[in-house]
C-alpha cells in the first residue's frame, strides 16, 4: 500500500481511539483546571505527554508543588510499560526503518495506539503509525482543552458512561486473539487475576497503578513465554 493510503487507513482505524481519548482527556482537562492550569497549559501538557495515567498522576505532583525529581521518577515508573511496548514495536518495524521515523513513532506509543499497531497484519509502516497518532492526539488534546475550558457542561451521567469507553477499547483489542489462541487466553486471564490480587491484598495494594501494571505484565508475559514459547518463523512476521 502507498504511504498516503496507509496514512488514511491509520486515520480511520484511529477513530475509536479519538472518541475514547476525547472522553478521557475531557475528564483530565476538568481536573487540570481544578488545580488552576489554563486550558492552554493543560492542552500543552496533553500534546507533549499523551499518557493518561502519567498525566493524571503528574497533576498531583504539580498541585502539591513537588520536586522535579519526584515528578520524573513517578513518570518513569508509571510509564515504564511504554518501554516494553516500544521494544515489542521495534520487532514489528522493518529493520531498515530510519532513525527519524523511529523517533516519530516513539512519540505516539500509548496503550491504544500500540495495541492497534502491534496487532496489525504484516510489518509496521511509519505512515500508518502517523495516521493513528494524528487522529488520536487530536482527540486527546481537543478533549483536554474542552474539559479545562468548559468543565461542568457535560451531564455527569454522560461522563460516567464514557469512563468505560477506554476499557471497552482495550477489551476489543485483546479478546478476539484470546478467543482464537489458547496461550493468549491464558495470558489475559493470568494478568487479570494477578492484577485483581494486587488491588485487594494488603501491602500490594499500596503499589501505584503503574507499578502494579509493570509487575503484572513482566510476570505474566514471562510465565507465558517460558511455558508457552512461540515458534519463530523465518522472515520475521509471525501472526
Amino acid at each position: 500500500m502507498k504511504n498516503t493510503s496507509l496514512f488514511k487507513k491509520g486515520l480511520i482505524d484511529g477513530i475509536p481511539i479519538f472518541l475514547g481519548y476525547l472522553a478521557v482527556s475531557f475528564a483530565f482537562g476538568i481536573q487540570a483546571a481544578d488545580i488552576d492550569l489554563s486550558p492552554f497549559q493543560a492542552g500543552l501538557l496533553s500534546l507533549l505527554n499523551v499518557t493518561s495515567a502519567g498525566q493524571f498522576a503528574g497533576l498531583t505532583v504539580i498541585a502539591t508543588a513537588g520536586s522535579y525529581i519526584e515528578l520524573a521518577v513517578l513518570q518513569l515508573i508509571i510509564n515504564l510499560r511504554y518501554f516494553l511496548m516500544s521494544a515489542a514495536l521495534s520487532q514489528k518495524l522493518p529493520a531498515d526503518t530510519p532513525t527519524i521515523h523511529r523517533m516519530g513513532i516513539a512519540y505516539g506509543v500509548t496503550d491504544e495506539i500500540f495495541g492497534l499497531s502491534v496487532l496489525a497484519d504484516g510489518p509496521l509502516r511509519p505512515a500508518y503509525s502517523y495516521g493513528l497518532i494524528v487522529v488520536s492526539v487530536t482527540g486527546w488534546v481537543l478533549g483536554t482543552v474542552l474539559g479545562a475550558a468548559a468543565g461542568a457542561i457535560l451531564p455527569h451521567l454522560l461522563i460516567s458512561a464514557l469512563g468505560v469507553a477506554l476499557y471497552g477499547m482495550f477489551i476489543a483489542i485483546i479478546i478476539p486473539p484470546a478467543r482464537d489462541e489458547g496461550p493468549v487466553r491464558i495470558t489475559v486471564f493470568m494478568a487479570m487475576v494477578m492484577s485483581s490480587i494486587f488491588t485487594v491484598l494488603p501491602v500490594l495494594r499500596n503499589l501505584s497503578g503503574g507499578m502494579r501494571i509493570i509487575i503484572v505484565t513482566i510476570t505474566a508475559a514471562s510465565i507465558s513465554a517460558l511455558l508457552m514459547p512461540r515458534d519463530i518463523e523465518e522472515g520475521g512476521d509471525e501472526q
Binding site: P16, L19, L37, Q41, L45, N49, G54, Q55, V61, A65, L71, Q75, N79, M85, S86, A87, Q91, L93, A95, T99, R102, M103, D111, F114, H156, L157, A161, G163, V164, A165, Y167, G168, F170, I171, A172, I173, I174, I175, V184, T187, V188, F189, M190, A191, M192, S195, T199, R212, I213, V216, T217, A220, A221, S222, S224, A225, L226, P229, R230, I232
Partner: protein, 104 residues
Amino acid sequence: MTPNVYMYILVMALVTYLIRALPLVLIRKEIKSRFIRSFLYYVPFATLAAMTFPSILTSTDMLLSALTGFVTALILAFAKKSLIVVAIGASLAVLIVEALAGIL
C-alpha cells in the same frame, strides 16, 4: 499556582519520551532469543488485561453499571465487533443501567 508549571510539563514530557524512544531507536535487529520474542509477543495482552481489570469495575458511578459495561464489552469483543462498536456499546450499557437506577 506555581510559576514553574512549564518546567513540570517539560520534565514529564522528556522522561516519557525517552522511555518510548530508546527501545525503538536502539533495538535495530531482529531479536533471536525465543524467550524474548515470546515475552514481547505476550506483553500487550498482559498489559492491557492488567489495566482493564479490575479498574473497569470502578470506572463508572456504580458497580452494577460497570459490570454491565464490562460484560457487554466482552460479548461484543468475543463476536469480533470493531473497536468503536465495543467501546460505544459498553458506554451505552452503562448509560442505560445508570439512567434506570436514577429513575427507580
